[in-house]
Each structure stands twice: as structure tokens, then as C-alpha cells.
């Protein structure tokens, strides 16, 4: 039962608080409020919804979002027969009049651009998976990975595409996936936020990355993602300003909590509680964040595993290691963004340097989680917001080409957390343009991930503007073929 929906329960809380404040003084009211927020009253509920709906397979998610949409044709979706169709026109029977973006709709030709990268077949639980030479480290983990080659999305541009992947809806304003998890499962480490966001700047063509992608929408604001930044100050405004002693900060927090408690007793606005709980968490994060971001307790072998960039704060390698450390500490949802995949022109050059940045760290993350036993209940998801076209955007040569946005099919992979390891699911046609078998929608993916986390996607709801909202809206089907 969600207490925020039932005014009666909020009234009880007010009576309790105002009664305490009237008799034993305001301090007791503050203590009671602390109790409500900090735990005693919600000691046993996993989150505001009361925790899981059934026994979960996964307890945490690391979502590696490749912002800008990497080319499935150059990484995961091997189309050897395209090599012989170099520079041939994409048949109308394949494109079927699909609406294109404004970036290529004016092109007079749509010449097929086969990948110039060499693929090899890597052993997995099936008869192997063909992967590109760009990602040798990731390919070495093929036995742990579950590839879905038949993802499709509704959006054809980045903003709506990422928004759709993150919130289940193309228009902004709904809660991010991580916010739903925070709301559904609650926090497993009271010293850190349940939903952490890490960002790496890429080397390729970059698109805007808005903070609303990890916003909590209409959910209470304590469920929004907390961005960890590179450098001296991982979380902004966490440190005490110069001249403010820790005991001054404590007194300030106590006083503001008391005033907030009075305001909440008067207005019953749940956002006030969210604010007080965030103040308290920020206070505890003054201790927990430096310990989290200090890699000095990692041994040399582990650091080397993540590659040479691991010592560079904000690099994908450093963020992958940080993601593992967050998971070890019970953080429910870690969202990494790797920017720079939007290769409209010069794809071979851009994707090479992008893969150089992500390949070793992402493989290291899977390997490190696996050997520490954390992969059993940590789910790793690697995805862009859509795929890229088989036809070349701009000039096509034997060494260079570009690819436009392509929502009709793309590839993702998952690992751990109850996902079936070492399989490929779904198939695209010979052009890597349409799905030939087992299409998986973004809603299906969301439903499946929630299922692994012990949540029924039809029951994880929030009432807003007169109706119940879900991450999967009115769609989504749990794809049991992907479960271990």
C-alpha cells in the first residue's frame, strides 16, 4: 500500500507529529520524523511500494547506455553477404518506403555500406556468436553475454529515443527506469543514493545529454538519479563550505528538519519528507562518497584489468570500476552514459576510438563481477537508443562511410542477474534492416528486466493526474526466452 495515496495515513502521521511536538517539545517531533524517514517505520519495506512482488533473480542493475546509438552492423550483427553488395542500391523491398531522418531523406542514392571490420566466431552456450574485431575483450566474455539482435524502438531521433529507452515514453516527463527501481525496491544502502549516474565524454560525434534522462518525473524526488562527477568533487555541494565546521552543519540540519517537520505537519506535502531525507543522506554521503571513489584499496591486477584509463576520473574505465564498487555497496541502479556514438560520417574512424574506450572496461566489469560472485544478482545491460542504417550517409568508399539513425532493428547485450548466459536471440534480415525473427520492443525489455528484479511491470504503478502510470505504459511482455 502506498501511503502517499491515502490521505488517511498522512493524517495519522500529522496527528503523531503534532501531538509529540505539543507535549514533549519540538525535538521529539524531529526525532519522530527521523524515525519515519530513516527506517524504523519502514524498516521492512523494500521501497514505498512494499518491495518485490515475488522472489527476485537480480538485486541491482548496471545500465551501460551508449548515447548516440552505436552501429549494430559494425559490432554485433554480422552480415557477410553484404560485402558483395558494396555500393549497390538498398532495394525498395527492404526499405519499404520507411520514413528517414532529415539527414539522409534528401540523398539520391542509398548505397549499401558493408562493415569493413572483420568478425570472428566466439564460443558461447549455443554454436558461437560472430563479433567484430573492434571488441576483442568483450568477445572474450561471449560465454556470459546474452545478445538480443532484434530490438526495435519507436523513435528515430536521439532525444525521444533516449527518453523512450529510459522512461518508456518518447515525451519527457516520466520517471527514469532507475527511478522506478528506486521507487519499487527502495534503497539497500542508506549511505548512498539508490540510483547513481556516471557520465563519460566520448571521442565521436556527441549529442545533448539532459539531466531529465535520470529525472524522477512525477515520482517523489528522492528517486531521481544522483550524478557522480569526475574529479575532486564527485557529488556537487556535498562538502562543508570553507569555514563551516561539521558540528555547525549538524545543527543546521537539525534546525531545518524541525522547521520542515512543522511545515509538513501543516501541509502534508510529501515532497518535504523527500527533502529532509535527502539532506540527511547528503550528510552521510560526506563520509561514504570519498570512501567509494577512492580506488587506493583496489589491487594492481584489478586496476590493470579495466585498462590504462582507469586512473583517469570520468573515463569509461574508471566509471566501470566505480559501477562495480557501487554495486558492492548495494546501490540498486547504476546508469553509465558513454557519449559519442552518433557516427553520421566517418563511422570507421569514430567507432574505432569509441570501442577503444569501452571494450576493455566493459569486459572487465563483467569479468570482475563474475569472479566476485556479484554477477549472480547484478544485471548488466548494454544498449544504445537505436541502431544505424545499412546504407551510407554521405560518400561511400572502400575505407569510409557514415550511417544514419535506424530504429527498426538494433542489437543489445545483457549479462548476469538471471539472464540466460551465452545466447543470441532474434535475427535481422540479410541487410540488417528489418527484423526477421523474434522482435523485442523496448517495453518488452523493460518488463523483462523488472521481472528479473522481482517486480511485475503491471503492478509497479504510480497514480498521477487521475490515472495509474507504469514504466511499460499499457505494453510490455516478459520475454521468458531470455531468462536463465
Amino acid at each position: 500500500m502506498d501511503t502517499r495515496r491515502a490521505p488517511g495515513l498522512d493524517l495519522t502521521r500529522r496527528r503523531f507529529l503534532s501531538g509529540a511536538a505539543g507535549t514533549a517539545g519540538a525535538a521529539l517531533g524531529v526525532a519522530a520524523l527521523h524515525g519515519l524517514l530513516g527506517g524504523a517505520a519502514r524498516a521492512l519495506d523494500g521501497g514505498p511500494t512494499g518491495g518485490v512482488h515475488f522472489r527476485p533473480r537480480a538485486r541491482r542493475v548496471i545500465y551501460l547506455h551508449m548515447e548516440g546509438a552505436p552501429s549494430h552492423l559494425d559490432l554485433y550483427d554480422w552480415k557477410p553477404s553484404l560485402r558483395a553488395r558494396f555500393d549497390q542500391e538498398l532495394p525498395e523491398s527492404v526499405r519499404q518506403g520507411q520514413r528517414l531522418t532529415g539527414m539522409t531523406s534528401g540523398q539520391t542514392r542509398f548505397p549499401v555500406a558493408p562493415s569493413i571490420f572483420r568478425f570472428s566466431r566466439h564460443a558461447n552456450a549455443q554454436d558461437g556468436v560472430w563479433l567484430s574485431e573492434l571488441i576483442p575483450h568483450t568477445a572474450a566474455m561471449a560465454g556470459k553475454l546474452c545478445f538480443v539482435h532484434s530490438m526495435h524502438t519507436e523513435a528515430i531521433n536521439h532525444e525521444p529515443g533516449i527518453t523512450f529507452f529510459q522512461t518508456g515514453h518518447q515525451q519527457p516527463g516520466r520517471p527514469s527506469f532507475g527511478s522506478w527501481i528506486s521507487y519499487g525496491l527502495g534503497n539497500a544502502n542508506a549511505n548512498l543514493p539508490a540510483f547513481a549516474v556516471l557520465i563519460t565524454q566520448g571521442t565521436g560525434n556527441m549529442q545533448a545529454l539532459s539531466a531529465r534522462f535520470w529525472g524522477s518525473g512525477f515520482l517523489p524526488s528522492e528517486h531521481q538519479g544522483c550524478q557522480f562527477r569526475a574529479g575532486e568533487n564527485p557529488v556537487l555541494f556535498l562538502r562543508d563550505p570553507a569555514g563551516v565546521r561539521p558540528q555547525d552543519r549538524r545543527r543546521l540540519l537539525d534546525l531545518s528538519a524541525r522547521l520542515n517537520a512543522e511545515e509538513h505537519a501543516r501541509t502534508l506535502d510529501p515532497e518535504i519528507l523527500a527533502r529532509v531525507s535527502q539532506f540527511e543522506m547528503a550528510h552521510r554521503m560526506q563520509m561514504s562518497v570519498p570512501e567509494l571513489t577512492d580506488f587506493s584499496d583496489e589491487d594492481a591486477e584489478t586496476l590493470a584489468l579495466y585498462g590504462p584509463d582507469v586512473g583517469k576520473p570520468g573515463s569509461f574505465a574508471a566509471n566501470c570500476l566505480l559501477a562495480r564498487r557501487l554495486c558492492e555497496r548495494g546501490v540498486r541502479f547504476v546508469q553509465l552514459y558513454m557519449r559519442g556514438w552518433d557516427a553520421h560520417n566517418n563511422l570507421p574512424g569514430e567507432i574505432r576510438s569509441q570501442c577503444l574506450a569501452v571494450d576493455q572496461p566493459q569486459a572487465a566489469l563483467v569479468r570482475d563481477l563474475a569472479r566476485r560472485g556479484l554477477l549472480d544478482d547484478t544485471l548488466v545491460l548494454w544498449a544504445g537508443e537505436f541502431g544505424r542504417t545499412v546504407y551510407s550517409q554521405g560518400d561511400l568508399s572502400a575505407t569510409n562511410y557514415g550511417r544514419d539513425h535506424h530504429p527498426r532493428c538494433f542489437s543489445i547485450w545483457m549479462a548476469g542477474g538471471g539472464v540466460r548466459p551465452g545466447i543470441s536471440y532474434g535475427r535481422t534480415d540479410d541487410y540488417g534492416y528489418n527484423i526477421a525473427e523474434n522482435p523485442v520492443s523496448v517495453h518488452d525489455l523493460h518488463a523483462t528486466l523488472l521481472h528479473l528484479l522481482g517486480l511485475d511491470h503491471t503492478r509497479l504503478t504510480w497514480r498521477h493526474q487521475g490515472r495509474d502510470f507504469r514504466l511499460t505504459d499499457v505494453f510490455g511482455e516478459v520475454r521468458r526466452e531470455l531468462l536463465a
Binding site: D87, R118, A370
Partner: protein, 496 residues
């Protein structure tokens, strides 16, 4: 009788049969009024109409019963015989109504009523299935906890929704869903359970289609599967459609691993955990068993503190993580006394093999993580002495290869995860990639299997070659492969 319009006429039977039934009710009403007024005209008119309607119903019924796609069963035959008798009785009654005295007519009317009940019942059994009428009166039987999911849940479900048409009495499309044999055998359109071409199976595909889809089952207008029934069917088919044994999620949950004897945790103990910032939540909704994770205070959690926090919950703890906490062997006897603990994470704690030995003989502990704990070789024997253990993460836990080998030999049922995962083997590498006509002039090294272009019939230029069904096919120009790919089947005959 196979003309389509004749079949359509036959299919009007379920509609037309209601005409004589209504008229029959009117005839009874007329006889009840006969004492008060003269009903001779009404009787004659209505009984004539009833006879005509009954003949119409019987005629269309006969057409329906003898349609080419119908399978003759005993039930259909009996319904048909009674229906013909009923029509005859209606005709007789109509003739007797022309007499001045109504006595004989009334006897005939009683005969009609006596025939109408069994005829209608057999007809309804044909469309709605046996037991349709009294089904709500039967007490629902709760599926047993162990037992066969098929027998307890799936078979009754299929009997209720499917076997009216695919059962003992009718076998539409030669399909029977009322027995394991029938399900395995499939019907006229092939198998209904999973097969190579359809991993989910035709049965699930059809019940999932929108109701207005032509292929949807049960057909539009018939009683549909409830959401819970569809979910049960999905779970059963998802588990490989076993005809014996339980299926997860389908049965009344098997008695939770810890019997009901486990009381819910003491709220004060839970409040103490929350106060200490230790995470606790039920393993699943309503269960008294707990997952407890000390991650938030791992840096400062020592043996004494851990004991104080965990001891009051010793019965409820089922999944406990002490990872990264400086706890040691002194805590192990307390954990050994926790009867319901299934998963334990001691990674990077100070627990040694000697401490682990305190857990010997634990009846439930099935999964242990002790990554980078200083276990040492002594842990091999301690792990071997955990009868329920199935999975052990002991990467860099100080176990020598010999100790691991000894443990693996003693307990082959334990999945030992002691090494960093190995690289996936590279099975095959494609030849160096050559795309397009290289600026240097080196054309793709493909030798076409054909001499003439399958599209134009002109001689092949090897520069325009594709790979089709494993063979290299050449064309005369750049346009022809495009035409070819639009419909390869059309050109297949022209390939060598």
C-alpha cells in the same frame, strides 16, 4: 451438400432452433389460458407455426451435422435423432390441434416438451461442452503443492476452455487437447506445443492473438481464457510443457523452505537494524525470512556489533551479506546456529577455514561467497562438510589448486567458482574483409558459379557478384543484383 451456401444455411441452426422453443413456450401459455377463454384459433395457428419452425430447425441441423468438415460422433447422432423425432412430434401436435377436442393434442404437446429437454441438452453439450451448466456449483479444487502441474492446473484448464471442440466428443482439425497424447500429437495443422519452427508452440501463439484475429482460440464468442489461465498456460509451456512434476509459479507455492514455524521478526530487532543503517527486507512478499545486507556499515561492523544486531533475528535470517566487514571466526558459531540461512556472503571478511568449520553440517546453506577471504586450504574440508552447499564463490580465498581438486573430487555436486572466467574460445575467423571495388583496381575475389546474368541473360561481369545460398552468383551490371534481391525466388530457375 458441400456448396458453400448450403453450409451457411446449416450454420444458421444454432440461431433457428430458438424459434420453435419460443413458440413452444407460447403453446404452453395458451393451454394455461384455455379454461378461461376459447383458444382454438390461437392453438391452431401457433402449433402450425411451431411445426414449421421445428422443421426448419431440424432441416438446418441436419445440414450442419452432415457438412463435409463435421466429424460424426455418437453425441451428434443422438442429437440428430432426437431432433428429427421432436420435429415430427411438433407436426403431429399441429395436426391434432385441428380436432375439435384438445385431449389428444395436449398429450402430443407433453410429448414435445419431453423430447425438447434432452434434445436441447445434447445440443448445448455440443457447443458449450459437458458440464457447462453445473460447473459453477462444483467447489474449485486448490492445486496441490507438489504433484503434477499438468494434472492439477493445465488439464482442468484445457478441459474447461478447449475440449468442447478438441476433446472426446468433437475433434475439430483432428486435434484433441484432453490428453497428453493428443497434445503431443497435434492436429491437422501440425504440432501445437513447441517445435523447431515455433519455439513457443502454436497453442500459445493462437491463444495470445487478439480475439478478433481469425486464428485466435478459443474462437470469438466462445468462453475465453482468463488472464490467470493464460499466465498458467504460459508458465507451463515456458517450462517445456512437462506432463509430470511441478512447474515453478504454477502451483500453490510449495511450503516455503522454512516451515510456518518461523515467526515474523521482532519489530524491535528490525528497528535496531534500521537505526544502524543495515538493510533488511523479506525474501519474498509475506515471508518471515529475511535478506539482510550490511553494506552501508561494512567498514565499521565488528564481531560484537554484528552479533548484537543479528542474534535476535537468528531464525529469520535466510540471506546474509557481511561482505567487506572486518568480522571474523568469532561470529561463525552464531551463523551456524541460524537454521534457515541459505545464502551467506563472507567476501573480504576475516573469516578463515577454521571459522568456516563451525558451519559444518548446516542443513540449508546452499550458496556461499567468500571471495578474497583468508580461508586457506582448511576450508576445503569445511566446505565439503556442508551437505546442502551447491555453489561456492571462492576466488582468491587462499585455496591451493590441490585443495580445490580435493574438494571437487569429494563434492562434485558443488559448483566451485574459484577462477576469473576464462576467455571464450575463438572458433572461427572470417577471411580478410574485401569490400567493393578497391580504388587500386583489385576487384572482389569472387568466382561466379554462373556464366549468364540470371536477370538479363547477358554475360556475367565478375565485378557484380553476390553470395546467395552459399554460392557466388554473377550479374551483368550494377542494376541486376538489385532486381534479383527484390524477389530471388523468381530467378532461382535460371541459376545453374
Amino acid at each position: 451438400m458441400s456448396e458453400p451456401w448450403v453450409q451457411v444455411l446449416g450454420r444458421l441452426h444454432p440461431l433457428l432452433l430458438h424459434l420453435p422453443l419460443g413458440l413452444l413456450a407460447a403453446l404452453v401459455a395458451v393451454e394455461l389460458l384455455a379454461r378461461r377463454r376459447d383458444v382454438t384459433d390461437a392453438r391452431r395457428l401457433l402449433s402450425a407455426l411451431t411445426a414449421a419452425a421445428a422443421l426448419l430447425a431440424a432441416g438446418t441441423g441436419w445440414l450442419l451435422g452432415h457438412a463435409p468438415d463435421r466429424v460424426e460422433t455418437e453425441l451428434v447422432e443422438r442429437h440428430e435423432q432426437l431432433g428429427l423425432f421432436l420435429a415430427g412430434a411438433c407436426l403431429l401436435a399441429a395436426l391434432l390441434a385441428r380436432r375439435a377436442r384438445p385431449g389428444a393434442y395436449r398429450v402430443a404437446l407433453l410429448g414435445v416438451l419431453a423430447l425438447a429437454v434432452p434434445t436441447g441438452h445434447l445440443g448445448a453439450t455440443l457447443t458449450h461442452g459437458a458440464d457447462f451448466l453445473l460447473e459453477p456449483l462444483r467447489a474449485p479444487t486448490a492445486p496441490p503443492a507438489g504433484g503434477d502441474a499438468y494434472a492439477a492446473v493445465v488439464a482442468p484448464l484445457l478441459a474447461a476452455r478447449c475440449s468442447a471442440c478438441h476433446g472426446a466428443e468433437r475433434q475439430k482439425s483432428d486435434l484433441r487437447l484432453d490428453s497428453p497424447e493428443g497434445l503431443r500429437a497435434g492436429g491437422k495443422h501440425g504440432p501445437v506445443l513447441a517445435s523447431g519452427a515455433a519455439p513457443e508452440g502454436e497453442l500459445l501463439r493462437r491463444v495470445r492473438l487478439p480475439v478478433d484475429d481469425e486464428d485466435h482460440m478459443p474462437p470469438e464468442g466462445k468462453s475465453q481464457l482468463l488472464a490467470a489461465e493464460l499466465a498458467a498456460l504460459e508458465a507451463w509451456i515456458g517450462a517445456g510443457a512437462p506432463f509430470a512434476g511441478p512447474v515453478a509459479g504454477l502451483m500453490a507455492p510449495a511450503a516455503p523452505p522454512a516451515p510456518t514455524a518461523v515467526p515474523h521478526a521482532d519489530p524491535a530487532a528490525l528497528a535496531a537494524l534500521a537505526e544502524a543503517l543495515v538493510h533488511a527486507e523479506p525474501l519474498e512478499p509475506g515471508s518471515p525470512l529475511l535478506w539482510v545486507d550490511t553494506a552501508a556499515i561494512a567498514a565499521t561492523l565488528d564481531d560484537a556489533r554484528a552479533r548484537a544486531l543479528l542474534e535476535p533475528l537468528h531464525e529469520q535470517l535466510a540471506d546474509l551479506s557481511l561482505a567487506r566487514a572486518p568480522v571474523g571466526d568469532a561470529l561463525m558459531p552464531l551463523l551456524a546456529a541460524m537454521p534457515n540461512i541459505e545464502r551467506l556472503d563472507l567476501s573480504r571478511t576475516r573469516v578463515t577455514g577454521a571459522g568456516l568449520a563451525a558451519l559444518s553440517g548446516h542443513a540449508r546453506l546452499s550458496e556461499l561467497r567468500a571471495v578474497r577471504a583468508p580461508l586457506g586450504d582448511a576450508a576445503a574440508d569445511a566446505l565439503a562438510a556442508l551437505p546442502a552447499l551447491r555453489r561456492a564463490h571462492v576466488w582468491e580465498a587462499g585455496l591451493s589448486p590441490e585443495a580445490l581438486a580435493r574438494l571437487a573430487a569429494a563434492r562434485p555436486d558443488i559448483e566451485l567458482l574459484a577462477r576469473s572466467p576464462a576467455d571464450a574460445e575463438i572458433l572461427e575467423v572470417e577471411p580478410p574483409v574485401v569490400v567493393g571495388s578497391d580504388p587500386a583496381g583489385a576487384a572482389p575475389t569472387l568466382a561466379p558459379a554462373n556464366a549468364t546474368c540470371p536477370v538479363s541473360g547477358n554475360p556475367v561481369d565478375p565485378a557484380f557478384a553476390i553470395v546467395f545460398e552459399g554460392r557466388v552468383i554473377g550479374f551483368c551490371c550494377q542494376k541486376c543484383p538489385v532486381t534479383f534481391w527484390e524477389d530471388p525466388a523468381a530467378f532461382r530457375a535460371r541459376l545453374p
